[in-house]
Symmetry: C2
Subunit: 196 residues, 2 copies
DNA sequence: TCTGGAAGTTACAGACCGGTAACACCCTAG
DNA sequence: CTAGGGTGTTACCGGTCTGTAACTTCCAGA
């Protein structure tokens, strides 16, 4: 009922969008292809004409998620053109806002928790996409004039990733409440040591 | 094959231990009760004589995990009696060691990612156990003479939780390599501000 | 030795899963 | 108008899942 993204568009797009939403809410193994196609207002045969398997659909959903995240980064650049430090702070604020938005963590991390087969196709793209995001955050930190850019970027990554799972386990009143405070504090602290 | 904890002990214990191991390795929805009982050298009927459902078995496994974690804390106290700061550093070292031990993250976090039904019995105990662990870490920080004990404890929690999911997504060569460095640095930094 | 309960065995129910086959439909491009 | 490709429909396959019933076997304690 709550899953009903059935706007009229091409079936493939509806399936992809619906699957993204349902995987996010109910987990990957918690959603069957029948449920997806029904919520997408189509049927199983059409799904299998566009995706060769559920695994491929999963991969496409992860890629679509990453594309959306990438668009967010572009929005920061558009909002604060050239001001990398402002973009970094915007990233922190956005991350914090998404933390409290819904109690589900990062789709890639959740997928990695569910899909334990070491050679599952999704594991490859998760690693690939996470590494790309890491690279992007490192670059942003470096361009913001921070000396130990990798260290700050990785620390911010860990904090955010941790905050996401914390929200998922104990809710938004737990340790995740400290995310913004710590992230901002770290940025300031690393800025101070920038000359080094 | 790799799952074969069939030492001769009472069936209930074997089932619990085997289930813990298999849930950890393959995820909860990735393991059926048949597979558990077979690996435990028993059968499904015996499982259902000791646990009223798979969900209850899951809950018991989570509690057993928490008990093992609690024993680890006791070991710190035994190793460094009264020296809370040494215990805190031991906690960091132990956490780091476990990070690289296996590529699977925290069982509770993984369970929370898999079991999305908001009223699933496991979600209650996950929250309860995580909150207990948080309390314990806060107490340890406070007893170690750290002023902003809650802030440090929560930050360390987020870092560890994040490191665990990072290992699960990009492997042990990713941002998680910075965990010890950041954790130790934070402890030193908070110690310095202890007088405040 | 006898007995009672725990454990093992086999079979099954009912539901759901991913994936496929065969066929009818509809809408648009020519 | 017509041809053809994308789509919808129905039914099905083989497998797996949680959970149960009915029965046998085993073993420890009295």
């Amino acid at each position: 009922m709550t899953d009903g993204i059935v706007e009229r568009s091409r079936p493939r797009d509806r399936i992809l969008e619906t699957a993204r939403d349902m995987f996010h809410k109910h987990g990957i193994k918690g959603v069957g292809v029948d449920a997806i196609t029904e919520a997408a207002g189509t049927n199983k045969m059409t799904l299998y004409r566009h995706f060769e398997s559920k695994d491929e659909l999963i991969v496409e959903c992860l890629r679509a998620n990453a594309a959306k995240a990438g668009a967010m980064w572009d929005a920061f650049e558009a909002e604060f053109p050239g001001d990398k430090l402002a973009q970094l702070h915007a990233w922190v604020r956005k991350a914090a806002a998404m933390l409290n938005a819904d109690g589900r963590g990062c789709d890639m991390a959740n997928a990695a928790a569910e899909l334990t087969e070491p050679d599952h196709p999704a594991r490859l793209v998760i690693k690939e996409l996470k590494e790309a995001q890491r690279e992007r955050l490192v670059t942003l930190c470096r361009d913001a004039g921070i000396g130990q850019a990798e260290l700050l970027a990785d620390t911010l990554s860990l904090l955010l990733e941790g905050a996401r799972v914390s929200v998922q386990t104990v809710g938004s009143e737990g340790p995740s409440t400290q995310f913004v405070r710590m992230a901002e504090g770290l940025i300031v602290s690393f800025r101070g040591a920038a000359a080094g």
